[in-house]
Symmetry: C2
Amino acid sequence: MIKSISIGLLGLGTVGSGVVQIVERHQDKLIHQIGCPVEITKIVVKNLDKQRDIEIDPSKLTTDPNEVIENPNIDIVVEVMGGIEDTRNYVVKALQNKKHVVTANKDLMALYGAELLQIASENGCDLFFEASVAGGIPIIRSLVDGLASDRITKMMGIVNGTTNYILTKMSQEGRPYGEVLKEAQELGYAESDPTADVEGLDAARKMAILATLGFSMQIDLDDVKVSGISSITEEDLDYSKRLGYTMKLIGIADREEDKVEVSVQPTLLPNNHPLATVNDVYNAVYVCGEAVGETMFYGPGAGRFPTATSIVSDLVEVMKNMLLGVNGSKYVAPQFKKSLKSDEEILSKYFLRIHVQDRPGAFAAITSLFSSYNVSFEKILQLPLKTKGVAEIVIITHHANKQAYNEIMEKLNTLEVVRGVKSSYRVEGEEVL
Amino acid sequence: MIKSISIGLLGLGTVGSGVVQIVERHQDKLIHQIGCPVEITKIVVKNLDKQRDIEIDPSKLTTDPNEVIENPNIDIVVEVMGGIEDTRNYVVKALQNKKHVVTANKDLMALYGAELLQIASENGCDLFFEASVAGGIPIIRSLVDGLASDRITKMMGIVNGTTNYILTKMSQEGRPYGEVLKEAQELGYAESDPTADVEGLDAARKMAILATLGFSMQIDLDDVKVSGISSITEEDLDYSKRLGYTMKLIGIADREEDKVEVSVQPTLLPNNHPLATVNDVYNAVYVCGEAVGETMFYGPGAGRFPTATSIVSDLVEVMKNMLLGVNGSKYVAPQFKKSLKSDEEILSKYFLRIHVQDRPGAFAAITSLFSSYNVSFEKILQLPLKTKGVAEIVIITHHANKQAYNEIMEKLNTLEVVRGVKSSYRVEGEEVL
């Protein structure tokens, strides 16, 4: 019988401190569920003398990762230090030393998840990572356990709080990107270098993790096509609204037959889509299964306590497995070989805003280009511009394949009547009329 | 090593047929996850000769429940026959015969859940019931595993699709209750005797199950205060809208310190509340945890395939446990003794519509009654009525305790100026201004 469980922390930042607090506060509940006490016995930090907002027995702190990953008294390693290469080495070593690992590190899991899960399995260890996607939302459990019997066909996620905050503010308050980004930085919702968030890379990592699990197919970060929100203008948001849409940075993972597409891009959703009302820093993952139909999981995507909650829930599962002696049994290797859709196989509607010469025949020239690719229009809005002789046309197309659409985009710019393609976005979801 | 797993079905109605279809269709996925084939070998039906919309080997059908529950070759019993007393006896016998049980039966679990879980645990058996609440939404898993480490403080659920359909249509189309109910019956969304749905009993059963799990405290059906939707009028919905609210039948499970309240009633939610946009037959459960904050789980609440998916996901877990030899280990007895809030401890805002004499001092008389209980108003709307000399007043109060509110209601009816209290509803959620 196990008398108590000892946890080592790699990292004591925002999330790590949250883990310490939750393990302390909820000790009774943990003991009730698991049957034995749980203690955080060692914590690796960069700086021993740093002021912290939680009380920690100084003897627990160390700057040497080996005091956790090589420590024979530690059962479980919680990795909340971030980073990739060094961190990967620590996690590998911990697993090889038969320590279970719980991590919140999406970068690590998106890049090395397959390898690390394999090593964990070989060593009879659990490697859980619920907190790596959508902070407090138990989305990984829901995909892996809750929908275990279904065939998931599509996932759409708002999985980056920073960009959702920025787009919500831009849209609701009609303010420009740069100004809202600055505000988000001041509020701590965006980092001083916001690239990974605003260019969609953070969301791409999460979508690679979700697609790998949801489709049981190893999807690498390189497989995810990404574009970010930094070039979205107030005009785009204004037209979206007028046409009944909400703009969100959406991660899409779509499967038809045995082929998949995974991408992240600014996307227009009909206002009545469940994801359209997910605002501010909230995250949500919309999941379609062949049998279950539409489901959605909504909650905080980041933050000390939501993320720490996911970590400690993972810890509970590891500890229950320890007491049953079944660690490492949860891992299921991908069932399918990777098979990605070609551009011809990616079907979607598009929003398009272009400036054309305001003269007879201009619109006909555009229509005929689209017709030649068999792409028709669902909605059209044409307005004169202040600039004399120029009109602004906004189009929502019917479904087009991506290859055809890309060719249309190229040719549009060569048409004499076209002054410029100002913006173009994907449109998802069917409007209920 | 287990070579194959044999399942017996009690019942082959809509959901049972869905289970048969999913187990057949997803056999590859099941084998990949579990490591051995899964077969439904025996199915108990009422009528052997009934026409069915799925093909079944007639030799698998029987009218004798003992061929499943006493059958030494059957590992797992799936109970999808409904009913309470007989069904309870079958489930008890199956568990005593060391068969694991998966059920979709909310009536059974709300009434006998504690007893059955205890028997399952004593016999080293799993008893899972994900499908009993909110059909395709993996809400029980999310509460038990996903939020295992958190302290849940509040759950609000739209857990009955029939009433949500009726309220959605009444609200969107301005039609009366009776007409929409009839339509729902014709569409198969409501039963010919709709009492259990429209009077809130079905929702109450589900809330008893959720509260028991979420608060780790045995909540019985009798502990749930219930009122239904049958007396909601078009006027109520019209006023709700004008004041910025949406009316839903909401199951509330609320915990403060160690005391809880569980109830089901028509409730006004601010339009921007995540539950306010859950329409038609969809269900959703909104969960607040001390650490995680606000989360919401959305999806189909009923239907053949959504419900069958939850059942087969439970089956997957039972089968994985069988192969690991850890069945019966998931059960955790309630951590806390039941402690219910008194009416004085239940705080809420209220919507109130009253008819008063249209003369000086009428409103003052009402205000002074509320003031004497220290209850103030958040919003007031007064309109003259067609009936001469009568005015209609709609009030949203600030928070009041239920005891005081009930006393106010009684006294209101005795005030000379009051012609009648037309309706009164609970109001939940804070408006974001």
